[in-house]
């Protein structure tokens, strides 16, 4: 039965995780993400799951990786300072191809910054936070409904591609209350477990741009999981340039070559637009109001909302750069995603940043002012 509720974004996230069959949460409470841990601690025992309040975020990331290798869908939730601590284990998640979901409810930073204020300060950290070459997946919700939907999608993508997935929320979307519709037919991707084989089992013997079913500890397979570069058996193979190239290129390609399946954008009023506003997460909410006002004044403005900042939806941005003269990028930081837009637009359109820090969402008037400034 369809259920309708009026809840905070953080609560919607927890409900989404439960709907996606997440049955393990490990975390260390931190503003403005704490309600997620709180809700998971209430919900998980009712569903036969486990909630562990860890000693810190390093251990939290470690615990969900361990839970995932035990066959559980697992998640943690934190904010900037916690995400920084998790980076080493997140990298371990990438090289061991461990499906985990990390919720980052972003707040003002660097360091402990502004605990109760909003920001999109960690967009690039979600991309490059851990050392090395890897291709992450991240989703950025702009509403309570999307926080629910994207959390489910994060679990599905994590399972499908065996990769850590981040949900890049922020304080605004985490704390506001809106209507949430919980459908009764939610598509859930289940963990693919390997079948027993005769002879030697190769846990990392995956196709070139794909991954392979993941056994759980206790399933009876002989497996070795390591952060070192490894061969198909999972054994360290650290001196052979070819082995390393083959492994790391596959880890990247399984995401990059499946961009079409992973990437999602929402285009509105772009067909005739001279100016397109490219946004992601909460600032999208200010964009709609600004466009309404601009259109009333006869200025042709459209919107491209990025649901999946990573992998970056290059094709969609390239298309916009060809048809629009100007692209405006409002961000709650001093300029992060704008660099990606500039890179992909490659001079085909003028790219303008509206970078805003301090903790408050852009007012629609601020975006409208930029539109008018461009139109001169």
């Amino acid at each position: 039965m369809v259920e309708v509720r009026f809840v905070q974004g953080n609560e919607a996230c927890a409900l989404g995780a439960i709907a996606a069959n997440c049955r393990f949460f490990a975390g260390y409470p931190i503003t403005p993400s704490t309600e997620i841990a709180e809700q998971m601690s209430i919900l998980l025992p009712k569903y036969g799951g486990s909630f562990v309040q860890m000693e810190d975020e390093i251990a939290s990331a470690g615990a969900i990786i361990g839970a995932s290798w035990s066959g559980m869908k697992a998640m943690t939730a934190t904010s900037g300072p916690g995400i920084s601590l998790m980076q080493e284990n997140i990298g371990y998640g990438f090289i061991t191809e461990t499906p985990i979901v990390i919720i980052n409810v972003q707040r003002g930073s660097p360091s402990t910054g502004q605990p109760t204020m909003s920001a999109q300060a960690d967009m690039m950290q979600a991309r490059w936070g851990s050392h090395g070459d890897y291709e992450p997946i991240a989703l950025a919700p702009s509403s309570v409904q999307e926080f629910f939907d994207f959390t489910i999608k994060a679990f599905n993508l994590a399972e499908k591609y065996r990769v850590p997935v981040t949900v890049l929320a922020d304080e605004v979307v985490g704390h506001m209350r809106e209507k949430l519709v919980i459908p009764d037919d939610i598509e859930i991707v289940a963990r693919k477990r390997p079948e027993k084989v005769d002879g030697q089992y190769l846990p990392f013997d995956a196709p070139e741009c794909g991954t392979t079913p993941m056994p759980a500890f206790g399933d009876g397979f002989n497996i070795h999981v390591t952060g070192l570069t490894h061969d198909e058996r999972g054994y360290p193979d650290t001196n052979d340039p070819e082995s390393h190239t083959k492994l790391v290129e596959r880890l990247c390609n399984k995401v990059l070559m499946n961009r079409k399946d992973i990437c999602s954008v929402k285009k509105e009023l772009c067909d005739d637009a001279d100016i397109v506003i490219v946004s992601c997460g909460s600032p999208y909410r200010s964009v709609g109001a600004a466009i309404k006002k601009a259109r009333e004044e006869g200025i042709k403005v459209g919107s491209l909302k990025i649901d999946t900042p990573w992998p970056f939806p290059e094709e969609e941005i390239r298309e916009i750069a060809k048809t629009a003269e100007d692209i405006i990028v409002p961000e709650m930081n001093l300029g992060q995603m704008v660099h990606e837009v500039e890179r992909v637009a490659a001079g085909e359109a003028n790219v303008h940043l509206i970078g805003k820090i301090g903790g408050i969402l852009h007012k629609p008037e601020e975006i409208l002012a930029k539109i008018k400034e461009i139109k001169g």
Partner: protein
């Protein structure tokens, strides 16, 4: 039409709960849209606390309140702190026992504010016999003055939000507030 509501008081009066109830009434029971936000910071405890609700029959894009159509003040400190951006000719509902009215006379005149007095705290204490339902009394007054949500929706949202066993007292509080103005 988009209506922006701000309810302010001090931490502990239940202003945030009042905001949640109005948001719930609009979005779940009147089947229009609502976004509820709240001041969120160390100052929320003991000091001025506020909640904001945007109610609209259209989809709500920008979720925050910039200049409220309706301001409800349950404490003097909160009134002074948050009345500045109330719209000209906007609605101001105060709990007169918690407010020093002389201090806002000029503001009310200058901006042609429609001022209503709802002694919610006194009504909760004396008529309902339960001081903590002052927020629910105030919801009654808000619904009567502004019609931002329907009476039925407000009652259903109250029943959906309050602890079991307190339903009668809370509905009584709502009706007492509704009768105040």
């Amino acid at each position: 039409m988009r209506t922006e509501v701000r309810i302010a008081g001090f931490g502990g009066q239940g202003v945030i709960m009042a905001g949640i109830i109005i948001g719930k009434a609009a979005s779940l029971f009147d089947n229009i849209n609502a976004v509820q936000t709240q001041s969120y910071g160390p100052e929320a405890r003991g000091g001025a606390s506020r909640t904001e609700i945007v109610v609209s029959d259209e989809e709500i894009d920008y979720p925050k309140v910039t200049s409220p159509d309706i301001l409800v003040a349950m404490s003097h400190e909160a009134l002074i702190k948050y009345m500045g951006d109330l719209k000209d000719e906007g609605i101001l509902i105060i709990d007169p026992d918690m407010i020093v009215e002389e201090e806002i006379v000029d503001f009310v005149e200058e901006h042609k504010i429609k001022l209503y007095r709802a002694p919610a705290t006194k009504t909760a204490t004396e008529d309902v016999g339960l001081r903590i339902v002052a927020n629910i009394v105030m919801i009654g007054a808000i619904v009567k003055v502004t019609e931002v949500v329907s009476v039925d929706a407000a009652k259903q949202a109250i029943l959906d939000s309050v602890p079991k066993g307190t339903e009668d007292k809370n509905i009584q509080a709502f009706e007492a507030g509704y009768a105040l103005i």
